[in-house]
Symmetry: C2
Subunit: 298 residues, 2 copies
């Protein structure tokens, strides 16, 4: 059952006239007659009663008309559906992010993407870098928002945001009285650090900064993430270095201060498989660029 023949048949069945149907189909009448005859012999069934000058459908023809219309309409809808997916306006996109990305630009990127592509189902999940790397390579996710980035032959990485580090202090700390604090002046303080593994970790990053400033924190406490670190700071356990965006979420008992000294900052990046060509991905990257560019201007 060729599709062309089905279209032809519907035209004839609707017009009940070969000539008119042919001109509607923008072909001549002979091929139309032949195609219908071919369809009938393929099916082994008469579809059109030609015994009179005014042709009419047989029972089989009537049923086929219904079915054919249904199928053709389904194909048409499918065509549009597929096209929308192919353009990235529909379908789904799986994004994973490190917990600390929830403060800064990421929510704005998500919001912007949602409003630009409301029909794309966004599957968001929090993962640490190691999980992200595994998941993105295994194609379980499409985009990994990592800090600072994922390094792998299979992956590509694009910077999302570069931000300075900032000092988090207890709001009862006497250090608050100074306008500006030199980092090396804090060598005696207790530092809240982060898990060492997997390497290179954010803990390594902090320690390398301290080293650059000429000291190693004597007293160290471990926190799983920034939230926990801030909690520890709020109860007076010690001080912490955090990305500046973390300070956006205010917390009782915690004050933030810029510091003087080496501040390489920290970066958020978008990571994805090199061979991932899905349009949703490129659309997301574009939106992310737009949002960060706009945000940087402000």
């Amino acid at each position: 059952m060729d599709l062309r023949r089905l279209v032809y048949f519907v035209a004839v069945a609707e017009e009940l006239h070969f000539g008119r149907a042919a001109s509607r189909l923008a072909i001549a009448q002979p091929p139309l007659s032949r195609q219908i005859a071919q369809l009938e012999s393929d099916l082994g069934v008469m579809l059109i009663d030609r015994s009179r000058s005014q042709i009419r459908l047989t029972q089989a023809g009537s049923v086929l008309l219904e079915r054919a219309r249904d199928v053709l309409e389904r194909l048409d809808r499918t065509h549009r559906e597929i096209k929308r997916i192919g353009e990235g306006f529909s379908g789904h996109l799986r994004v994973a992010f490190v917990g600390s990305a929830t403060y800064g630009v990421l929510p704005n990127v998500i919001k912007a993407f949602r409003s630009a592509y409301p029909d794309v189902e966004l599957a968001l999940s929090a993962m640490n870098n190691a999980e992200q790397k595994r998941a993105v390579i295994q194609r379980e996710i499409d985009i990994a928002v990592a800090r600072p980035s994922l390094e792998d032959e299979e992956l590509k990485s694009e910077p999302l945001l570069q931000e300075p580090l900032i000092l988090a202090l207890s709001d009862t700390s006497p250090l608050l009285e100074r306008q500006v604090t030199r980092l090396s002046a804090l060598k005696a303080e207790t530092f809240v650090l982060y898990p060492r593994k997997p390497r290179p970790s954010f803990a390594d990053h902090i320690l390398s900064i301290c080293l650059e400033e000429g000291f190693i924190p004597k007293s160290q406490v471990l926190a799983q993430d920034y939230q926990t670190a801030i909690s520890l700071v709020s109860v007076g356990v010690g001080i912490a270095l955090v990305p500046k965006s973390v300070s956006q979420a205010e917390r009782p008992g915690v004050a933030y201060r810029a510091y003087e000294g080496y501040n390489p900052g920290t970066a958020l990046s978008l990571n994805y498989r090199r061979d991932n060509r899905m349009p949703h991905l490129f659309n997301f990257l574009k939106i992310a660029q737009d949002v960060t560019r706009r945000q940087r201007k402000q």
Copy 2:
């Protein structure tokens, strides 16, 4: 979106391997690659991710696979459905019959047709000859079971059953004492007759028999149909000539007797449009022939 390409695509999507899909489709691999590429360019969408040796479906491809399977299955079902209708195993058939046909072979024909073609919806309706003729010509019904037959250029008529006439008497009638009654001996009786129109009517038929026997009933009473006639006979209004099959439905107060004399009988016929080629019709005619042939043997 060509149907062949859809089939090809489903094969590739299921095998995830062009070579295997090609051999499953019993074609060579190059044309398959080209058809898939063609489908993709028709839709303007990548359906298959060929970036690795192990190919995989894109989102659009996955959705198309589902939709294509659905459409192909619908077409397959439609094919079978249409074929069954074309062979007369499914669909519907509209039959009209004169009231007096409900006694004789017709119920058996209907039963036989029902059991041979259980999926054909039979639309049965009672009509007099005039209504039948109009309805069958206008294609409102497919078969008219008429008595004796419908005459028209557009119609064909086949005998269904030829049956003798029989005398219906009150069971208190003194006529019952004789073994056989000569029709002409009844010239003084009151005859229950039938509507004169439309001509030629069954009333004319009865009167022509009487005329053949050399008399015209002096006393006549009219009944709309055989049922009414029998009712009138049962209450002693008069006597009636009815088709033999009518006597199958026994009725208190009525007795039946054969008579001596001219008995041309009466015929039931199957009538249909000459140009009606629907298989259901021919199947019905065949069943009717079988049933009457079998019944006649008994």
